[in-house]
């Protein structure tokens, strides 16, 4: 009986040892994944914060430019009202005709551009080869491969750690590039908005 007990204890401890080894690997993987998820979560938050800041800056430029436009249009409307009340009907008619001429020229120009773009797209569509996306197939294959015993847990973990390290380095570079481009866009847009404000469309110079 003593021997039997000893044997079972040895076997069960082996079993337990094996059973514990896997949770260690799983726990390590879970820890690593949690850390990286936290990293991605903060990157995503950072991205959204930056996007909101940019959207807010751009929206404020849009508002100031629209205000400028509103003031400019209001000045014209007021001047037209004055002209109409002071025998300037002919001038108003001429003004409207010239605006109409410009608007029609713009419409014709945009229609021509749209027609050209449509023709280009049609031609491109006729010779663009069929594009087959293998993304879903690859994902399915990846899921199946993770179930296979081709790699041990240790090998798999080693690969994942290296993948995660490489991805961290690469995404750091990408996010830095993203921020730089965004700042450049903000600066250029600010300059443009200031340049337009300087032209002062709300003044009739006689």
């Amino acid at each position: 009986m003593n021997t039997m007990c000893k044997t079972l204890i040895i076997l069960l401890s082996l079993l337990a040892g094996r059973a514990m080894a896997a949770p260690d690997a799983a726990a390590a993987l879970a820890e690593l994944t949690a850390k990286n998820m936290a990293h991605v979560s903060s990157a995503l938050t950072d991205f959204e914060t930056r996007l909101s800041a940019t959207a807010s800056t751009r929206a404020s430029h849009i508002l100031s430019v629209r205000n400028l436009a509103y003031t400019g249009h209001q000045v014209s409307i007021n001047e037209v009202a004055v002209l109409q009340k002071t025998d300037g009907g002919e001038i108003v008619k001429l003004f409207e005709a010239l605006c109409d001429y410009g608007d029609k020229a713009a419409l014709a120009s945009s229609q021509a551009a749209a027609a050209q773009a449509a023709a280009k797209a049609e031609i491109a569509a006729s010779y663009t080869p069929l594009k087959i996306s293998t993304e879903k197939l690859d994902r399915a294959a990846k899921s199946m491969a993770s179930l296979s015993k081709e790699q041990t847990d240790a090998e798999r973990a080693k690969f994942l750690v290296q993948f995660l390290k490489d991805t961290r380095d690469e995404t750091k570079r990408l996010l830095e590039g993203s921020e730089k481009a965004e700042k450049k866009g903000d600066a250029l847009l600010k300059d443009k908005a200031q340049q337009v404000s300087a032209t002062d469309p709300g003044q009739i110079k006689k």
Partner: protein
């Protein structure tokens, strides 16, 4: 003996149990947590935030264009009203107060901004138009010469677009130059007697192409001398085009070198004896590659590795263009290895996988791919290859979008330049209409009692019976000339300045698109990577040995022991 058998059985069972890699005790709490984590991860749909961001950018872009367009129209309206309304003055009226002077001043001020010098605007516009016309004529002639050649053999349709090499065909004495350009060494007519006629036509293409290049060069020279906003726009377009052309050229050349260097390293590794082969093929692209002084030695794997690392570092320096080349090559090689792993490729093709394995080995995560293959004939495992494929595809997608944005920059810069040129053209046309009314007196000349064209308001010029119908140069009446001039001015705002604004805003927007594309690539990479352990942890915790299965296992162990007679001793 029994004791020995017992220990052998214990060892065998132990080993068997250890062989079950997924064997662990089931934990319902861990299973629920992993399932919940997987559900939360799936629900987070991190790439969806990018799609939303794209929609936000589109909306902002459209609203910006709308707002700036509205300011431009407001400017047009105030400009027109300024000219149409009478100029009020308490002083003695001079020609400066007349419509003609005020119109010319407004147009000249704008032309000075556009080309730096309003006085020469008309001549500049004429010269640019004449140079453009010469290009069009030369292009038609060149096309005609090409068509004549294609009539002899369809192969001539593949002749590259007009460039210095095509221009060089004018000196052809035989078919060699044309054959080289067409990459068709056996180029010749069916009948030998036709050869001199072919050569004549080939020379004609070269001559017409040279004329076209000269015409383009003349226009470029003129454009480079322009001042003002148009000059800046011209130089910006050229700068952007040169950057794009250089990036394309450099990346195409580096792509060729990448293939050569990869194959050279694979060959050198195979040819070298074990002691000389390089075990660690990974390249550290954050540091300059070591000198490739021995690269000519075909058998020196170290030199070949340095050469390959140098090309990869060069490609990395080319940013999106280089990343596109590396990603395309890596993806093609991964697909080839995946094909071989699936057993679809015949074994004979496996030699073709060697450059791919070398390329993979240059990255830390596959650093041993080549060694494993060379020493044990083992290809990398399927799962990491598929993850790498997904990551590489994400990189390729953002690199392609970066290249596309670089092309867009050139298009928008060109659109801005064209629109600025259109404005110069419209304004000089408008000035020409007004100039047809006659030569303006010197500035400050007082207006007499009799109304003249130069002291008149626009109302007088359009409606005064005498002034309106007076025929200027070219025979057209003054009112028509004035109306047309104002219409040109209106169009210069509604069309030309509107196009400039749109091109400028789209150019700025490309910076935001670059930022989005980088963030998208970053999140797509993480998504590809994090989904793997999340899925694995869910599967892992859903499995495991449950209590009932553990009891059954214990019973099986006792049976196994009995089978080898250990139980006999107990009895």
């Amino acid at each position: 003996m029994h004791k020995l058998l017992r220990w052998i059985a214990v060892g065998a069972l132990g080993s068997a149990l250890m062989g079950c890699s997924s064997l662990h005790l089931y934990d319902s709490a861990a299973d629920a947590t992993a399932t919940s984590a997987k559900a939360d991860y799936d629900a987070s749909k991190i790439t969806d935030s990018i799609k939303l961001s794209r929609a936000v950018l589109d909306a902002l872009d459209a609203k910006e264009i709308e707002a700036f367009r509205s300011v431009n129209l407001a400017e047009r309206n105030t400009a027109l009203l300024s000219l149409l309304s009478e100029s009020g003055t308490s002083k003695q009226r001079t020609v400066d107060n007349g419509f003609v002077a005020r119109f010319n001043k407004r147009v000249d001020d704008r032309l000075a901004v556009l080309i730096g010098n309003a006085k020469g605007a008309s001549q500049t516009n004429y010269d640019l138009a004449a140079a453009t016309a010469r290009i069009n004529v030369a292009a038609v002639a060149e096309k005609g010469a090409r068509n004549a050649l294609v009539g002899f053999d369809n192969a001539f349709a593949l002749l590259p677009a007009c460039n210095v090499d095509v221009g060089g065909l004018k000196d052809s004495k035989d078919l060699t130059k044309a054959a080289a350009l067409l990459k068709k060494p056996d180029l010749k007519p069916k009948f030998e007697t036709l050869t001199p006629i072919w050569i004549d036509r080939i020379k004609a293409v070269g001559t017409e192409c040279t004329k076209l290049l000269e015409a383009q060069g003349a226009l470029d020279k003129q454009k480079q001398e322009l001042g003002g906003q148009l000059g800046i726009a011209v130089r910006n377009t050229k700068n952007q085009s040169d950057i794009l052309a250089k990036s394309k050229k450099d990346s195409t050349e580096a792509a060729g070198r990448l293939k050569v260097a990869t194959k050279a390293l694979a060959d050198a590794q195979k040819a070298a004896k074990d002691a000389k082969a390089v075990e660690d093929l990974k390249c550290d692209l954050t540091k300059p590659a070591a000198s490739a002084a021995n690269a000519d030695e075909a058998t020196d794997p170290v030199a070949k590795k340095n050469e390959l690392c140098k090309v990869l570092a060069e490609l990395k320096g080319l940013e999106d263009f280089g990343i596109k080349v590396v990603s395309e090559e890596r993806l093609a090689q991964i697909n080839a290895i995946l094909g071989a792993l699936s057993g679809e490729s015949p074994p004979a093709d496996k030699n073709k996988l060697e450059p791919g394995l070398v390329l993979l080995s240059t990255s830390a995560r596959f650093a041993h791919a080549w060694t494993q293959y060379q020493q044990a004939g083992k290809l990398p495992a399927l799962e990491p290859l598929l993850i790498d494929k997904e990551l590489t595809s994400a990189q390729l997608a953002y690199a392609r979008s970066g290249v596309q944005l670089a092309e867009s920059r050139v298009q928008y810069a060109q659109a801005y330049e064209d629109a600025a040129r259109l404005e110069v053209s419209l304004l000089t046309n408008a000035k020409a209409e007004i100039a047809s009314l006659g030569t303006s007196p010197a500035p400050g000349t007082s207006c007499g009692k009799e109304l003249t064209s130069f002291c008149a308001s626009v109302g007088d010029l359009l409606n005064d019976k005498k002034l309106a119908k007076a025929a200027g140069n070219g025979g057209e009446s003054a009112n028509r000339r004035v109306y047309r001039a104002l219409a040109y001015l209106s169009e210069s705002y509604s069309v030309a300045r509107d196009r400039q604004l749109e091109a400028e805003l789209r150019l700025i927007d490309t910076e935001y698109r670059v930022a989005l594309s980088r963030s998208e690539a970053s999140l797509a990479s993480w998504n590809a990577l994090l989904s793997v352990p999340v899925d694995q942890l869910k599967i892992y915790h859903a499995g495991g040995i449950k209590p009932a299965e553990a009891a059954s296992l214990a019973a099986q162990v006792v049976q196994a022991l009995a089978a080898v007679g250990i139980a006999v001793r107990i009895k």
